[in-house]
């Protein structure tokens, strides 16, 4: 079902975003804790990185159809 595609994509995006954010956050926290003496900037960095990665992934995922050299696994 092609209309469900978008929904799936958004789910993936979200899940990815959450994951990345979480991971970033986690890593940030970890790194901040570990390496950067509980500064917040690694947390935000990493979560931001995470978020950014998620954003990028989501965007890529959403526009994957329009990119020609990518093989379409789904659909």
């Amino acid at each position: 079902m092609s209309e469900k595609e978008l929904g799936k994509k958004w789910d993936r995006c979200l899940a990815d975003g959450v994951t990345k954010l979480g991971t970033g956050l986690g890593l940030g926290i970890v790194f901040s804790v570990l390496f950067f003496k509980r500064r917040t900037w690694p947390i935000t960095l990493f979560s931001g990185a995470g978020l950014g990665m998620a954003y990028a992934n989501c965007q890529n995922d959403l526009r994957s159809h329009y990119l020609l050299h990518r093989s379409e696994k789904e659909q």
Partner: protein
């Protein structure tokens, strides 16, 4: 007057054709007298009448006397038969030569000759015919029928046979009896002969032999017995001879009687009997003569013995007179006689010798006379005997000659008979040949005629038959053709019916399958697609094997619909609505605008833009109608109004991500549309075909 005379003369000439001269003359005289006397017409008439009557009377009288003349007259003058019959009675046909011949033929048919019966039968009718032809008498003789003749002949034959049989029987009887008697007589005579001979012999022996007295006495006894035998045998012979003679006489009488019958068949029998008789007579005579000669010899011997006995007796008397004491049987007394006796005896003997000498001298003297006398006597006797013998021999010879003659006669008769038989046979053979030839010719003619008739009839029948058969055949052919044509028609009708039925059935089948397809299409529920259309399509394909159009259509069904089935319009509609919102949300996204920000913007647009839920699409789409929202509202409108096609068309105008989002729906819609189109086409086709095949009642 002259004319009257002439008339009278003519009348006489007419009536008396072969009259005698005297009659003619008398009649002509009469006519002349009447001519001279008569003057007037009446007298002339009277004269004429007298002449005519005189002529007629003379003719009748002469016909009575001469039968040939009568026959001639009857033949030549038309009604003379009647007249003569009236005057004289019927013509005497039954006397004369043919009768004698017939009688002789009847009485003298040969015995074992059946052909001769036929000959006689043949002769009978010929004889009768001859009679009728030659005589020409007043009464026609009917020919005796063959059976009667044959019966008569048979009867005569039988009578003759009976007579012959009786004659032969009597002859045989008498022959047998006479033969027996003769044999007996001969036997008796022979016995007598023997007895006589024996007696004579014994006598001679007794006379000459000098045997002792006992033997002599036995001899004399034997002699006596022989004499007795002789006498008895002589008597027996005499009686037998008498009987034989009687029998021979009776045989002779029988022979004479049978001769008197004059039956030809018995002649050989008679001849044979006569011969036998003659032989018997001859034998009997011979034997009798033998016996007589034996008797005469015996007489001589008896005389001699008598003389001897006499002499003996005399001597005995002399001896006894001389010597009374000497007994008769002096021959055995030689030892007992004394000298005196002996002297006396010797003296007697001397005296006797003297006497005998004297007698001897006397005898010698009278020898010649005695001899002559004896010779004369003997001559006389010989003559008598000779005469008798000659007489009997003559008789015998006569008899033999007569018998020979009879035999010759019989032979000759037989020969003649045979010859006559052969002649008759020849005649009969000739007759049969002739008859056979005639019959053959007749047969041929009749056969030819009959065959002709037969062939013509047969031809007619055949032609008729052929005609009939041809007619029948034609009718039959016509009927057959008609029937065949009808049958063909019927068959064709049936075939066309069958075809039509088949077509109808197929159409029906197709329709049913199409209906099934439609139904299958209808099985799509709200969310799930319909049943896979494969079976239905298969059924459709199966039911339309001969229709290319339908086949093409059936095979034009999309694969997906076959495998998975199609969604119903309702489900599509439902799905559209969910899809519409999504499509609204991604309306701004396309190849160039597909960042997340664009997504965000598109989302806001979707949230903020309000279009009419449903909008009727225009007949022509302009470029500003190609907006997603508008298209979606058009499509919605179309969907609401059940026009999936137009909706699909409109949805097809979406571009970008919206397009991507509705892609599936579109394919589904397309599928459904396609399937529906095919199904509708098929159903239309099926309907059309069904309509075409259904017949109005």
């Amino acid at each position: 007057m002259l004319r009257v005379c002439l008339r009278g003369v003519k009348a006489t000439a007419r009536v008396g054709l072969c009259s005698t001269v005297s009659c003619h003359v008398g009649v002509s005289l009469l006519s002349s007298v009447t001519c001279s006397l008569a003057q007037g017409a009446a007298e002339m008439v009277v004269a004429g009448l007298l002449t005519v009557s005189g002529g007629v009377g003379g003719t009748i009288l002469y016909a009575k006397w001469d039968h040939k003349f009568r026959a001639a007259v009857e033949k030549n003058v038309p009604y003379s038969e009647w007249l003569l019959g009236l005057a004289l009675g019927p013509a005497p046909q039954d006397t004369g030569l043919p009768i004698k011949k017939r009688v002789s033929v009847c009485l003298y048919p040969p015995e074992d000759c059946k052909e001769c019966n036929d000959h006689t039968v043949a002769m009978e009718p010929t004889a009768v015919l001859q009679k009728t032809d030659s005589a020409g008498t007043a009464e026609p003789l009917t020919e005796r029928p063959v059976e009667e003749v044959a019966a008569r002949l048979a009867q005569q034959d039988q009578e003759e046979n009976n007579v012959v049989a009786s004659v032969s029987a009597s002859l045989e009887d008498s022959l047998a009896s006479s033969a027996q008697a003769t044999l007996q007589a001969i036997g008796a005579q022979e016995a007598a002969l023997q007895a006589i001979g024996q007696h004579t012999h014994k006598l001679k022996e007794a006379m000459e032999a000098e045997a002792p007295s006992e033997e002599k006495s036995t001899q004399w006894k034997d002699l006596e017995t022989a004499l007795a035998d002789r006498t008895t045998s002589m008597n027996v012979a005499k009686t037998a001879l008498l009987k034989a003679n009687e029998a021979l006489d009776s045989l002779k009488s029988v022979i004479d009687k049978s001769k008197g019958l004059k039956v030809a068949a018995a002649r050989p029998l008679i001849l044979a009997a006569e011969e036998n008789l003659h032989k018997m007579v001859v034998d009997l005579d011979k034997v009798v003569s033998k016996v007589q000669s034996a008797e005469s010899e015996a007489k001589i011997v008896a005389q001699y013995s008598e003389l001897v006995n006499e002499a003996k007796q005399q001597f005995h008397r002399e001896v006894s007179s001389l010597t009374p004491e000497i007994q008769a049987n002096w021959k055995g007394l030689t030892g007992k006689l004394s000298t005196d006796d002996l002297n006396a005896l010797i003296a007697h003997a001397h005296r006797r010798i003297d006497k005998l000498n004297r007698e001897l001298a006397e005898q010698r003297v009278r020898e010649q006379i005695h001899i002559d006398a004896a010779l004369e006597q003997q001559k006389l006797e010989d003559q008598k005997a000779l005469e008798k013998a000659v007489g009997t021999a003559l008789q015998h010879v006569k008899e033999e000659a007569r018998l020979e003659q009879e035999k010759k006669l019989a032979e000759l008769r037989e020969v003649i008979e045979a010859e006559m038989r052969t002649q008759l046979r020849r005649q009969a053979a000739a007759h049969t040949d002739h008859v056979r030839d005639v019959l053959k010719v007749q047969e041929q003619e009749l056969k030819a005629e009959a065959e002709q008739v037969l062939s013509s009839k047969m031809l007619e029948q055949e032609t008729r038959y052929r005609q009939l058969t041809q007619e029948q055949l034609d009718n039959f052919t016509l009927d057959m053709n008609a029937a065949y044509a009808r049958l063909k028609g019927v068959e064709e009708a049936i075939d066309s019916h069958v075809e039509a039925e088949e077509e109808a059935r197929k159409a029906h089948q197709l329709w049913l399958s199409v209906e099934a397809l439609n139904y299958t299409l209808k099985t799509a529920s709200a969310e799930s697609p319909s049943m896979p259309l494969e079976d239905a399509a298969e059924a459709v394909r199966a039911s339309c094997v001969d229709s290319d159009f339908a086949l093409a259509l059936a095979s034009a069904l999309p694969e997906k619909s076959l495998k998975r089935g199609v969604y119903s319009e309702a489900s599509l509609r439902a799905r559209f609505y969910s899809m519409r919102s999504l499509a609204r949300r991604v309306a701004l996204i396309d190849e160039s605008h597909n960042t997340l920000y664009q997504y965000f913007l598109s989302y806001i647009q979707a949230a903020l833009l309000f279009e009419s839920q449903q909008e009727a699409p225009p007949t022509q789409l302009h470029s500003e109608d190609l907006d997603a929202f508008k298209l979606l509202s058009y499509a919605s409108y179309c969907l609401e109004h059940g026009d999936l096609e137009l909706a699909a068309k409109l949805v097809n105008q979406l571009r970008g991500e919206a397009r991507r989002v509705v892609e599936d729906w579109l394919t589904e819609a397309r599928l459904t549309l396609e399937t529906r189109q095919v199904a509708s086409l098929l159903s239309a086709y099926a309907n059309a075909v069904g309509l075409g095949t259904t017949q109005a009642p």
